[in-house]
Subunit: 424 residues, 2 copies
């Protein structure tokens, strides 16, 4: 039944029925959360053996001969660099292994650009206006970093092939445009993977600003949900082909491979970029937690180990994503009031509801006990101009809770749509 | 025998004899390092049980009920805050627990002041000149942070009671003076503990700049070497008494309690300062490594546990410090060419050699295979105006190596002195 073809009486009747169902949900006193891309307890349990893996004194030594318990190795363990290099499809010598958070490494890289600058340019903080391109919908914490540092954020439309590259190519002609936030594989929130053409066009960019940098946050590089994974072209390889090595800085972490709070993060960059970042790091810290790196190396060992671990995650996550998609299809399919993505990996499903209805859907869900990501959160300044995008995060709740939450969600989408159509 | 009273012939004779001894050392091909305040292997072995302490799933929950393996708790675990509060003599609600490095927290606090400012003032990075007071000799990495951010460093003379407070009180009248680096207990490198009067005068400071902050790096707060420890007055308590809560930011870590690379760091500050720091943190990261905090809580438990652990460290370190002091006394006592501190805790012994001789001593040692902290490193810009201070770090080498290294050191001090006296 397509809601858009209903007359006023039918809508009124539908509203009454939906409201009754909604009141039923409210009476249940639910307390469910689909707000953040948090792994669930079963996923965390997977990595428990890693916590017991460091026990013999003999095992405390890195391949460099250094005692991992002591100070030193600001760049991280060579063996951890090698693993990240494979994961990120770069060379080990381009990798810096950091602490427990890739967001922290991105923030610090931006902070470094603010106070010290890239490419020999004036620090961003001493330039009049700094603009950042923000493919939207996108990751709220990326946008928040830009906002914290007072940048002007330029929304770039997302397509199933990645950011609208015509717009990106146009905007980088502006010398005030200094960077772009990208989640190139299984993008947050839509789960889109940038096409080969998109990656090549990124590599070919000729920005007016010598200190323009692509922040390539490959957060979901090995986070598959199917047997036919999306394949992302290596931006690093493409940049090398056209001698644009300084254009991009790459980020990844094991936050959603091992433990969200106790994983290991890394960045990769060209020699010139590394020089700036390493100098920053050399003043900022004496070194990262190398014991946690050692734990990861012993536990994951190599890419086979990573893929095996991700397969275990998939066993837990696949039914959750299937639940979300099947609820959306069965309850909103053909209604004309919602569309959604069906990603092959990553952590989110993106739902677009009728224009002007996203806030209301989130509110309806909240009032009946289900917390969603705030409407608008996926857009710069937290403002979705169409008020239509909602990020659904299926990973944390158990399937049975997810079913209830999605029932309420689908109901709320319908109720909000009917309310809107009645007002029109 | 006092070298200063020797005539030229005696000096020449002495030089020949010292040179012969020195050549003997050179022939031994030593490879020893007393450069940094690194714990030794035996100290690291002490904390091995901590690495096996996390094993049951039940034990993964913080006192808040949150799963420490997941995202969240940006401020750190309440139980870890409570422990640091006791260690730092502040209230738990004023503590933020961070990652593995207090240097990192200090750097980030300065960086935050550069880009966002404290006390509602213009960010330091947008003010024309930022000056920082640097009690010298002091910790080279503190000074390096100031230098990295382009601050003008003002050396403040250290006394056995702490920094020259007359100079500090004079300098803070300059509104461009924004802070001071302090290691108030067992200072780096002299091992001095600030007197009660010094702490009270710090608390009573009325800086011209509303964004002036004392960086109180209490790195050696529980790092005792004797049964009669120095007692440091609580700057936090003194600040509260005179309603100067915003004046100081406090830092500490377990780097030299458990593992240097895999410890836990913390800062403490007033509500107003925390507001600025928490905002910064909320954009920078989703949270610290809470599993490592949990490990520390299970292992150390409380202040009794901390003191017990420090007692174990002392068993290892006391003989090393005794070796250094006894070598200095037996070989340089009464020579008139060197003086040194005899600290009751901390990580260093500070030696002052004849003016103009520190670089030469470090060079002589290096050429014979013993690496010392670079001469001048303990001063802003790496420049000791008198070229006389040398930091000796006795913790890392085994006692037998330390004996050889100190023999060479004492010999080098004499040789450099004789060279200088012959030129005079």
């Amino acid at each position: 039944m397509n809601y858009l073809s209903l007359g006023k009486d039918e809508l009124l009747q539908k509203k009454e029925q939906l409201q009754k169902e909604y009141d039923g949900f409210k009476a249940r006193g639910l307390q469910l959360n689909m707000a953040r891309g948090k792994p669930c307890k079963e996923q965390l349990d997977l990595s428990m053996p890693m916590l017991e893996i460091l026990h013999s004194k003999a095992g405390m030594t890195a391949s460099t001969g250094e005692d991992c318990r002591n100070y030193g190795l600001t760049d991280g363990l060579p063996e951890m660099k090698a693993l990240f290099a494979q994961m990120m499809e770069v060379e080990p010598e381009n990798v810096i292994v950091g602490g427990n958070s890739s967001l922290n490494m991105m923030f610090d890289t931006v902070s470094c650009a603010m106070t010290h600058g890239f490419g020999g340019c004036t620090p961003w903080g001493k330039q009049a206006t700094i603009k950042f391109l923000c493919p939207a919908p996108g990751y709220d914490r990326h946008f928040a970093v830009s906002q914290y540092f007072g940048m002007e954020m330029i929304p770039i439309e997302m397509t199933p092939q990645g950011p609208d590259m015509d717009a990106v190519e146009k905007w980088v002609k502006d010398p005030q445009v200094k960077g772009i936030w990208c989640v190139p594989k299984y993008s947050n929130p839509q789960g889109y993977t940038y096409s080969d053409e998109t990656v090549r066009r990124f590599a070919a960019l000729e920005p007016a600003a010598a200190d323009f940098r692509i922040f390539w946050d490959n957060a979901y590089c090995v986070h598959e949900l199917t047997d036919t994974p999306d394949v992302l072209l290596s931006l690093w390889d493409e940049c090398k082909k056209v001698h644009h090595e300084d254009l991009a800085i790459f980020f990844a972490s094991t936050s959603k491979i091992t433990f969200p709070g106790a994983g290991v993060a890394a960045l990769a960059a060209s020699e010139a970029n590394l020089k700036v970042i390493r100098e920053h790091l050399s003043f900022q810290t004496i070194g990262p937690d190398k014991l946690n790196q050692l734990r990861h190396i012993y536990y994951l060992a190599d890419m086979d180990g990573v893929h095996l671990q991700m397969e275990r995650h998939r066993q837990i996550l696949e039914p959750k994503f299937a639940t979300v998609i099947s609820k959306l299809e069965s309850q909103l399919g053909g209604t004309g009031i919602a569309s959604w993505t069906n990603p092959k990996g990553g952590y989110f499903v993106s739902v677009d509801v009728l224009e002007g209805c996203a806030k209301r859907v989130v509110e309806l869900c909240k009032n009946a006990g289900v917390v969603l990501t705030g409407a608008g959160a996926t857009y710069p300044y937290g403002k979705d101009p169409a008020d239509s995008n909602i990020r659904v995060a299926p990973t944390y709740p158990p399937v049975e809770e997810l079913e209830v939450a999605m029932d309420l969600f689908c109901l709320s989408v319908q109720l909000a749509a009917v309310e809107k159509l009645l007002k029109a």
